[in-house]
């Protein structure tokens, strides 16, 4: 459904996308994961026709997104990163406008609005002014607007940012349902845990490059190992596993394929009264990112924020 090849984009001297290749098939959900500034929004915006790529190929349903953009946009549903609603008209009027612009007749649109509203628990809000909704309600309306014409390719750019738990759950349910009905979904997100919940294929984007793609379990199995963490009162003792052990303050971390065997080996070597806690950390996407990008995920975010602050200050 979506084919991207060698996609490059720079903003002045800043490289946003450095030759991205990506395919998303019908019925597939692909989570586009990366820290702030990784290039997620740029990628989604180019696919949606909102920005021009410097070079590369984007095809949607076999159509060149650059030369046949209007036809391509008929097949796409986009929920941009920032919530976009007309606050001075009702939710229903927002739906009617964007439904008509998507090419749905007014007669067909009325029942479709009810259908989409029901799926996202918005029925009772349809005749409320959009500006009077809560943040979570606005977020749901914002996403629902992208679903009206049952797009063949749904682009969700950080759809759950700032959303409460209920909103997030409903949105993820709708995304799963849409994929089950045959749409392709490119789901850009900042949240590692959300992708693990979604259980979709993951594309990890870092500094404008795809660094890995695969299923969550597959990536974790290939790139991350479980960690046994032992927290001590006072100095961390030498447990004699130098190659696999790292010390971080009062915490001893042991990377291992077999946490139980490691514990059996280590525990007899430490004094019970010095040990505060023992935890087995399940391998996660955070560990995958660390292994492949060479830095912690939240550290990448902090670096990006520092860069933005420096640019603003400069």
């Amino acid at each position: 459904m979506l084919h991207i090849e060698g996609l490059r984009k720079s903003y002045g001297d800043v490289l946003a996308l450095g030759g991205v290749d990506l395919d998303v098939h019908a019925g597939e959900i692909v989570a586009l994961l990366g820290p702030n500034g990784a290039g997620k929004t740029t990628l989604v915006s180019i696919v949606a026709g909102l920005r021009r790529a410097d070079s590369g190929v984007v095809r949607v349903d076999g159509l060149n997104a650059l030369s046949r953009s209007s036809e391509v946009r008929r097949r796409i549903g986009l929920a941009p990163q920032d919530t976009g609603l007309y606050p001075v008209v009702t939710v229903r009027q927002n739906f009617m406008l964007f439904g008509e612009l998507a090419g749905i007749s007014r007669a067909a649109l009325r029942p479709r609005v009810e259908e989409v509203a029901e799926a996202l628990d918005l029925t009772e809000l349809l005749d409320r002014q959009a500006g009077q909704l809560s943040g979570g309600q606005k977020r749901r309306v914002h996403t629902a607007l992208a679903l009206l014409h049952s797009p063949r390719l749904l682009l969700l750019d950080e759809a759950t940012t700032g959303a409460d738990v209920e909103t997030r759950t409903r949105l993820l349910d709708v995304v799963r349902q849409l994929a089950a009905d045959g749409s392709a979904v490119l789901y850009s997100t900042h949240y590692l845990a959300e992708v693990e919940t979604l259980g979709s294929d993951v594309v990890l984007l870092d500094r404008g490059q795809v660094i890995v793609r695969g299923g969550v379990e597959e990536l974790i199995a290939a790139h991350a190992k479980p960690v046994v963490e032992l927290t001590f009162e006072g100095v961390v003792p030498d447990v004699g596993l130098n190659g696999e052990a790292t010390v971080d303050g009062q915490v001893l971390r042991l990377v291992t394929d077999d946490p139980a065997a490691t514990l059996v080996t280590v525990l007899p070597r430490v004094r019970a009264d010095a040990l505060q806690s023992v935890e087995i950390v399940r391998p996660s996407l955070e560990a995958v990112y660390l292994a492949l990008a060479g830095r912690r995920y939240d550290e990448a975010d902090r670096e990006e924020k520092r860069e933005v602050a420096n640019v603003s200050a400069g």
């Binding site: 946009r73 008929r74 976009g84 001075v88 612009l101």
Partner: protein
């Protein structure tokens, strides 16, 4: 082009406009007050210009109508900046509607507002101020429509070159006001200093005022105002071409700041 899309945007823009009708009310009520205040002043000037029986409304009504129609320059741009502020601009652009569809849908309501405003002032001019139109009503209507199109096209040009709402306000308001003043909407060209009178024909509103004067005071018909209409169409085309050249749909516009 996808006419249904233009129609959907147009309908929506009217709905948004009516959700806060203060602008529409302002551009009708305030000029009426100003006509009441200034009408008598202009009676003397018109008398000196050879229209001895004029009561002043013959200049005050079209003058104030044109002056306040110039606010549509800023309003045309506001409809775009507002969408950037509400986050709906990218949403609109991501729909199958073309740039032309969006432009038509967003600009036509401003044109309509200006036409209605001008028409209302002329209609109320008779019962409130004794305004008599001696010439062709059809010519008056054509002048009104062409002026509204020309001002909205100028509004698009100002929008295209403005990056922030502040710039739009400054260029739109000051530009619109200057255009009205230099065009002879506030003061008759015959009473303006020589240098100002010399540059007045380079302003679209001059031609609107010239046309209105012909229709109201000189029994003017379509053929009498054809020149003024053609010049205003020329300005409209020029502004549209420049706006199309400078307008970048993908550029972010700053709603605040």
């Amino acid at each position: 082009m996808y006419p249904r899309a233009s129609l959907a945007v147009l309908r929506h823009e009217f709905r948004v406009m009516l959700s806060d009708p203060s602008t529409a009310i302002f551009v009708v009520i305030v000029p009426l007050v100003l006509v009441a205040l200034t009408k008598d002043l202009f009676a003397n000037q018109l008398s000196e210009d050879g229209f001895a029986s004029a009561n002043g409304s013959e200049f005050a009504v079209p003058g104030m109508a044109v002056a306040f129609a110039s606010f549509s320059v800023g309003y045309a741009g506001f409809t775009f900046f507002r969408d950037h502020g509400w986050g709906t601009w990218d949403r609109l652009r991501a729909t199958p509607a073309s740039s032309v569809d969006l432009m038509i849908g967003k600009v036509l309501p401003t044109v309509t507002l200006t036409v209605v405003q001008l028409a209302l002032l002329f209609l109320l001019g008779k019962p409130l101020f004794g305004l008599e139109v001696s010439g062709s009503i059809l010519a008056l209507i054509v002048l009104i429509v062409v002026l509204a199109l020309s001002l909205s096209a100028f509004g698009m040009l100002v929008t295209a070159i403005s990056r922030t709402m502040n710039q739009l306000n400054a260029i739109g308001s000051v530009g619109g006001m200057t255009m009205a003043m230099l065009g002879g909407a506030w003061v008759p060209v015959s009473a303006m200093p020589g240098w100002a009178a010399a540059i007045a024909p380079a302003i679209p509103t001059y031609w609107a005022m010239k046309g209105f004067q012909s229709v109201i005071l000189e029994d003017g018909g379509i053929t009498d105002v054809a020149g003024a209409i053609l010049v205003m169409i020329g300005f409209g085309v020029l502004f549209t071409v420049l706006a199309a050249w400078k307008f970048r749909f993908e550029d972010a516009k700053v709603y605040f700041g």
